[in-house]
Symmetry: C2
Subunit: 325 residues, 2 copies
């Protein structure tokens, strides 16, 4: 216990979305995706193996978790224990600096931080690439939270080459304003939502094919630091994902009235000459890609419709890292 080491991983928001698996067990995606890591939302986790306990014990935000939540963590830890040939139960302590399950991808930072802490506790000394492969098996989007900046999750051909790579440090004038429309647990998990979409949406092949094109284009735009182009592709790819869901049977929609308010406001600000672009995930929250230097101005405009607590500015996050306790 005394020598538990803590790892922090930042969440990430996909600009080119991940929406659908080709392999449910291994979490292999139908298409490659690309995200921006955010420094305002992260998870810190420690893992300490302890001979004196009988089974894994999991604390989230200082609260002992139930059987179901603990089992999910145990299963993921087993990947590390098997590799390191360890059988000892562990105490896992995790603190989420993310509104849980509000579509802010807490599972991304959560599983990435757990992977990082397990790596330290087992002494496996995995490379970031190997860590990305492990994290992926906990939660698809976690594979991207190993790195900061702009990160691509290459869909790969097997479990061994489906991992994230850093595309760009995002060390330029870029950030996000996250509009928390609703931080309650969503009714349909993204896991279920994507499953139903893949199974029933007649748009799915169109989604996969056109997303591959969007990815090529956004990587070029990032290389050129062409912010408007990055934003336009982000907004169009995100709406396309939501269109794919509306094509599911029954139709899937995560939008709430305030989601539409936020999107309309972004369009309005753009008309006024402020470059900003929205994206949404499997939830009602709206994430606005903007120049970090414009973010305060945009937030001020949003304060006419939303409360201070609903508006969170973030710059680009960094790689997963060990933090001192």
């Amino acid at each position: 216990m005394s020598n538990a080491r803590k790892v922090r991983a930042y969440t990430n928001i996909a600009l080119i979305k991940y929406w659908g698996k080709r392999d449910d067990a291994l979490i292999l995606p139908t298409s490659s995706s690309l995200s921006l890591t955010l420094d305002a939302f992260y998870t810190e986790t420690s893992v300490s193996f302890d001979e004196s306990i009988e089974k894994d014990t999991f604390y989230l935000n200082d609260t002992l978790q139930d059987e179901a939540a603990t089992q999910k963590v145990s299963r993921f830890l087993n990947l590390f224990r098997e590799t390191a040939n360890v059988k000892t139960p562990a105490i896992i302590k995790s603190t989420n600096y993310v509104p849980t399950a509000a579509g802010l991808a807490s599972s991304a930072s959560g599983m990435a931080a757990l992977a990082g802490a397990a790596n330290l506790a087992t002494g496996l000394n995995l490379s970031p690439q190997e860590l990305s492969i492990f994290a992926r098996q906990g939660s698809g989007s976690a594979t991207r939270s190993i790195y900061g900046g702009f990160v691509e999750w290459q869909k790969g051909t097997s479990s061994m080459d489906s991992y994230a790579v850093k595309i760009d440090d995002a060390a330029w004038d870029i950030g996000m304003l996250v509009v928390v429309v609703n931080k309650n647990q969503k009714e349909l998990s993204s896991r279920e939502g994507m499953k139903q979409t893949v199974a029933t949406s007649p748009f799915y092949s169109g989604w996969v094919e056109s997303t591959a094109v969007d990815l090529v284009n956004i990587k070029k735009a990032i290389r050129d630091q062409d912010f408007e182009q990055v934003g336009e592709i982000t907004e169009s790819n995100g709406m396309k994902m939501h269109g794919t869901m509306l094509g599911a049977n029954p139709p899937i929609s995560y939008w709430e009235p305030d989601s539409v308010v936020a999107m309309q406001l972004v369009r309005q600000l753009r008309k006024q000459g402020i470059p900003c672009y929205f994206t949404m995930d499997a939830g009602p929250n709206v994430k606005i890609l903007c120049r970090l230097s414009d973010s305060q101005k945009i937030k001020t405009a949003f304060l006419n419709y939303f409360n201070e607590e609903q508006l969170i500015i973030s710059g680009p996050g960094s790689d997963l890292k060990e933090v001192t306790l």
Copy 2:
């Protein structure tokens, strides 16, 4: 002037949507569609040829219309004049009992009524089927407003066999509650919206293919008077159309915050055991398909969020008909 005869045509709401043309000039659609004609929204129009005037004169709701609006009517009237070998200018008087361009398909009842009035004024004595072909060339959805009840617009193979046929009188317990979210002119016309969708949405082929299946299924459900089945297909096909639009580049969305409020309320009422289903067109208004016997109860629930003037109940409308002045 003294002998001008007036024709009334009712608007219709598509349950299986028309969204895209394969021929812009002739208005031939990419897929067949199916609608319910509504008796609460209609247009009344008279056409009288007058040797004493120099050019067509068009009054809408007792207001003399400008060049652009008049030219649109003139071009449509020319189809009849050419067929009847008439060259005389006409006075056209039209009254819209529909919030214009609010996504309530005023062009459907408008062009259908104009076709009916022109038919009388020219003495062409066209059959309903011929009238449907003429009306189609004024506005696609007008082709369906020739008939009451459930109406299919068969996409056909050419201009001569792309017309509407009546599927069912809708003489059973069925109706709609129209929620007028916004009756202002919409920013992007449906003509432009569908053009952009056809040209840029990667979902378009999926839309066309799956809509053909929806049409077969809804016709069976109508034959069986299976209301729940009719409703489920309606809701899913409508959302699919909006999904196809979100796939366009740039994405197209006609939703407003209150559109989402209305859709959420429908889902809630359904959970409470009231069968009702929503659909939306190229605008923010929400149309709720329900048992006519449930419509008052549903309206009452909506009065918690909307004003009396925004909520219009309608039963099924009838065929286009002559009305006495």
